[in-house]
């Protein structure tokens, strides 16, 4: 086993200094070291999207990212995006539309949806489905999620003069 590494990063705006093993992935670092358990681990091989977080503004799979790679980065998780209010309208749309059942995919799904909504103002249903097609949901069948994202896009357009 290789020697531990010292890393320093921003997590939800707070500075975090830590000593980690090189093999530690970002999802385990967030969950086990920082107790940010909103980042979920579904497949641990980059397919299901449950561990989606934002690193320097881009969405990444925390299970395929090493904690050591995040040295110097700004990492945002579902806890941070909830507390800042950035996705409050999207979360409300998910709640009103019952776009979640067990909720395990939901943090990753919300972060992936927000990524689309920050890039495109008028995504149609096919575009929403395409953008979310890296996030597995076993409960909803996706229809309600697409509805909630579509409704949020519409409301944001209406708010923007």
């Amino acid at each position: 086993m290789t020697a531990s590494l010292s890393i320093s990063l921003l997590v939800n705006g707070e500075r975090v200094d830590a000593i980690v093993l090189p093999r530690l992935n970002l999802a385990d670092f967030l969950r086990e070291h920082l107790k940010l358990t909103g980042t979920h681990v579904g497949c641990e091989h980059g397919v299901c999207g449950a561990c989606t977080v934002r690193v320097n503004g881009d969405i990444v799979r925390a299970c395929l990212t090493l904690a050591a790679q995040s040295d110097g980065a700004s990492v945002e998780t579902i806890e941070g995006l909830s507390d800042s209010g950035e996705i409050a309208d999207l979360q409300a749309a998910f709640r009103d539309r019952n776009a979640l059942q067990c909720g395990f995919c939901t943090p990753g799904m919300l972060i992936a949806a927000q990524d689309l909504l920050t890039q495109e103002a008028e995504p149609d249903r096919a575009r929403i489905r395409e953008h979310l097609s890296g996030n597995y949901c076993r409960c909803t069948g996706y229809h309600a999620i697409v509805d909630a994202v579509e409704a949020t896009a519409r409301r944001r357009r209406e708010r923007t003069p």
């Binding site: 093999r23 385990d28 969950r31 940010l36 358990t37 909103g38 980042t39 979920h40 681990v41 579904g42 497949c43 641990e44 091989h45 397919v47 299901c48 449950a50 998780t77 579902i78 806890e79 909830s82 979360q91 998910f94 709640r95 009103d96 539309r97 019952n98 979640l100 059942q101 067990c102 909720g103 395990f104 995919c105 939901t106 943090p107 919300l110 249903r125 929403i128 489905r129 395409e130 979310l132 097609s133 890296g134 996030n135 597995y136 949901c137 076993r138 409960c139 909803t140 069948g141 996706y142 229809h143 309600a144 999620i145 697409v146």
Partner: protein, 797 residues
């Protein structure tokens, strides 16, 4: 019948101005999950908690010659390495049989294998360490010497005398067989103008819950009590089984179930590795955590549906269906699963084939065989997708044979909506179904005639689209007939306790569980409606055997119909008790009072008399001011189990509209419609979402999902990149409609809705594909409908 409310008098307690019944209201506490602040078992950490990782067999069938744990034990951070022999001192083996499944046999199964492994993935040793990473490192250092044995993998050969018998003590590889012969089948086939006979093949697939199975077991040796934190659908069942096999009283076991990351039947069973985790906690006297990784999930979560079913239908030229006959074969792995057994799916297939139709002539045989693959057991819609695909596939093939439209042949053969109550040839009793109303509504919703015209027009341009229809029945609200009569200690009744707290809010404890279906919401909706209390003031507690009444939990589409009725009855008693106290305080009579918007009001004019908050203050803190002799009772408990019908059958119909690329074999789903009848709709949005989620699991089975084993019993696609699941991009929008025929057995009138979507989706898709293939004279009867199967049917490969 198609417009609610169908029985207004029976629903009077709920049909009030501030009722939440039948309304779309958001589920309580969703913000917790939306903000990533839920508590799943994989999130739980306890002081002194250690992690277990299992060394699992790479062989499908092998003798364990030696297990060398020496090097692994020396790794820093390793607490213990435990073999099957060592664990056997704390936990006893089990046999997954039930007495009502006559002849079902299985062999003793252990928490960790001793002497022999029977499937790839069976645990051989447990490695316990201070972290999961260290436990995984150590697991790689455990050296196990195996002597490979011949693996029985093909279910068709399992009963061949030349095939090795997996459990010598059982004599053969036949776990269970059932035959049924109703009506006059031979005469009916003799009187048929056309007979169609085909084999339907169903891929073995699995549930793929996004949160893998997870357990934290905490044995407190000072209290002599085991607390099990587990994502389970049936906490009291887990309590019973854990106590039974660890030599404890049930009172010594507490099962706590907080948030669960998907269940779908995967988490309603007791798995060997979970038993091992309970036992390790007791053995090592500390909390032990087990969280399956994804590869383990594929290798050990129950699989389902691996069936090959010969189907035969006789039909007259006028479309009259004369008879159905099936011969079903399924392979369940090396053991019948515990405690619900692995014979239920085949048994359901026998029960359900032909279920929507009038014909009385039905013959069936089902055989369940052992094999050296992962265990198979009940997954969402148990048996229904097989029965529906066989029945509806045969009906469509018969329609094609006599040149009749698929909707028309169903109109001519579905049981009439005014024929109830009645029974099926297999003995299922139907209280009230609505096949024709549902079909009529479906045909309208999807613009059937217009789609047929569009299909015809596109065919001239070499674009091949298909329409598939599938009618179905669904077993819901099971009584003790499902498990209890066979000797399983799995409760079919549920209980709800409701109390008014000191500030006039309501606390409600229910024995049904929540895995996202909306159990908490429907309980709060019912209690709020009956009491006249705002939903925001109703708090629902579930998933804790120390806290809730005793009950079955949430599975087999039973939560709303059984747990919901218990909530209704408990709330009625509490309401009466509140009004009795209010009448004493107000010097009125209970009949002159009502409760609305969190206050006691005059029933005549609705004028507010006393807030519940104030009533509670008096009862709890100033009972001295009440009239002499009054002992208020602001808590009420009621239990409920259906007694008249063994099952509350529901019905529905689905349709698929898709396009087939005849060059690539790819299928594009263009639309999907469902009309179903689950009786009273407590929250229409939640019902619709259960249907949609269920449909997509059925679509996964139809198009993608298959556990691919090689001839040596190796699962070759045990990861999410190679095992395909439905993702947002391939799924269509799903339109859902309802017919409402409440059950009169309960006051609530609700039947189940959780499995209807899965029951019929694959059948609708397969029928649509065959419809699209019609110009080519090809048919397919195997799912998943991969491009390879389509292109083979077309003769392109």
């Amino acid at each position: 019948m198609s417009s609610p409310p169908a029985n207004k008098t029976a629903l009077s307690e709920l049909d009030r101005p501030n009722s939440y019944i039948g309304k779309v209201v958001p589920r309580p506490n969703l913000d917790r999950l939306l903000q990533g602040r839920g508590l799943y078992v994989s999130d739980i950490e306890l002081p002194r908690m250690a992690h277990v990782v299992f060394v699992r067999s790479p062989h499908a069938h092998a003798k364990i010659v030696a297990v060398d744990t020496g090097a692994a034990k020396r790794l820093s951070g390793v607490i213990a390495i435990v073999t099957g022999e060592e664990l056997a001192s704390v936990i006893t083996p089990w046999v997954g049989v039930l007495s009502h499944l006559k002849g079902l046999k299985s062999a003793p199964q252990r928490a960790i294998a001793i002497g022999r492994v029977c499937w790839q993935g069976e645990a051989v040793a447990a490695v316990v360490a201070v972290s999961r990473a260290i436990a995984e490192d150590a697991a790689e250092m455990v050296a196990v010497e195996y002597e490979a044995l011949e693996a029985v993998t093909d279910m068709r050969a399992a009963l061949d005398p030349k095939t090795p018998v997996i459990h010598a003590s059982l004599g053969d590889n036949l776990a269970f067989e059932r035959v049924l012969d109703a009506g006059t089948v031979d005469a009916a086939f003799g009187g048929s103008d056309e007979i169609v006979e085909v084999e339907f093949v169903f891929g073995r697939h699995t549930g793929v819950t996004l949160e893998p199975r997870a357990v934290v077991a905490d044995w407190n040796s000072a209290e002599a009590r085991l607390t099990i934190y587990q994502g389970t659908q049936a906490p009291h069942m887990v309590q019973n089984i854990a106590a039974l096999h660890l030599g404890l009283e049930e009172a010594q076991v507490r099962v706590v179930c907080k948030d669960v990351g998907g269940s779908f039947g995967i988490k309603v069973h007791i798995y060997a590795d979970e038993m091992a985790t309970y036992a390790l906690a007791k053995l090592l006297r500390r909390p032990i955590k087990f969280v399956a990784d994804r590869v383990e999930s594929f290798n050990t979560d129950i699989h389902a549906r691996d069936h090959r079913c010969m189907g035969r239908i006789g039909v007259r030229r006028d479309g009259t269906i004369m008879a159905f006959e099936i011969d079903d074969l399924t392979g369940i792995g090396p053991y019948s699963m515990y405690p619900r057994t692995s014979a239920i799916e085949a048994n359901q297939v026998v029960n359900l084939v032909g279920g929507p139709y009038v014909t009385r002539n039905y013959r069936a045989r089902a055989r369940v065989v052992f094999q050296n693959k992962n265990v198979m057991c009940q997954y969402r819609a148990v048996g229904h997708p097989i029965a529906c695909s066989v029945t509806e596939g045969l009906v469509d093939l018969a329609a094609a044979k006599v040149g009749m439209d698929p909707a028309e042949i169903r109109r001519r053969n579905l049981i009439a909506d005014d024929a109830y109550p009645c029974a099926s040839p297999s003995g299922l009793r139907f209280e009230l179904l609505s096949h024709h109303a549902a079909l009529n509504k479906l045909v309208k919703m999807m613009n059937y005639d217009q789609l047929r015209a569009e299909q015809a027009a596109l065919r001239t341009r070499n674009i091949h689209r298909g329409i598939g229809i599938a009618s179905f029945i669904e077993v819901t609200n099971p009584s003790a007939a499902f498990y209890g009569v066979g000797g399983a200690k799995i409760s079919s009744q549920d209980g709800v306790a409701v109390r008014l707290d000191a500030q006039g809010s309501v606390i409600c404890q229910t024995s049904i569980t929540e895995q996202g279906q909306g159990s908490e919401s429907l309980t709060a909706q019912i209690v709020g409606s009956v009491l006249g209390v705002s939903m925001s003031r109703v708090r629902v507690i579930l998933g804790d055997t120390d806290q809730t009444p005793y009950g079955g939990g949430t599975w087999a589409s039973r939560g709303a119909g059984i747990g919901g009725e218990a909530a209704l009855q408990a709330a009625k008693i509490l309401r009466k008790n509140i009004l009795d106290v209010a009448a004493a305080i107000l010097q009125s009579s209970p009949a002159e009072l009502d409760i609305a918007d969190d206050a006691v009001v005059n029933s005549a004019d609705g004028a507010p008399r006393i807030e519940l908050r104030e009533l509670a203050r008096i009862v709890y803190f100033r009972p001295d001011t009440l009239p002499p002799g009054i002992q208020p009772e602001l808590m009420a408990t009621r239990h409920y189990v259906p007694r008249e019908y063994p099952f509350a059958f529901t019905n529905g119909v689905q349709a698929s509209w898709l396009e087939l690329d005849t060059d690539t074999g790819f299928i594009k789903l263009l639309g999907h419609w469902v009309v179903e009848d689950c009786g009273t709709l407590i929250n229409p949005q939640l019902v619709d979402e259960q249907i949609r989620g269920g449909v997509v699991q059925g679509l996964g089975a139809a198009l993608f999902e298959k556990c691919i084993y090689d001839e040596r019993g190796q699962l070759t696609n045990a990861n999410m990149a190679d095992y395909l699941v439905p993702m947002a991009g391939e799924m269509p929008d799903i339109n859902v409609g309802h017919v409402v025929s409440p059950t009169t057995e309960s006051e609530l009138g609700a039947k189940g809705a959780g499995e209807a979507g899965t029951a019929g989706a694959a059948a609708a898709v397969a029928n649509a594909v065959n419809d699209a293939l019609k110009p080519f004279g090809a048919i397919v009867t195997e799912i998943p409908l991969t491009p390879q199967i389509i292109l083979s049917a077309l003769g392109r490969i």
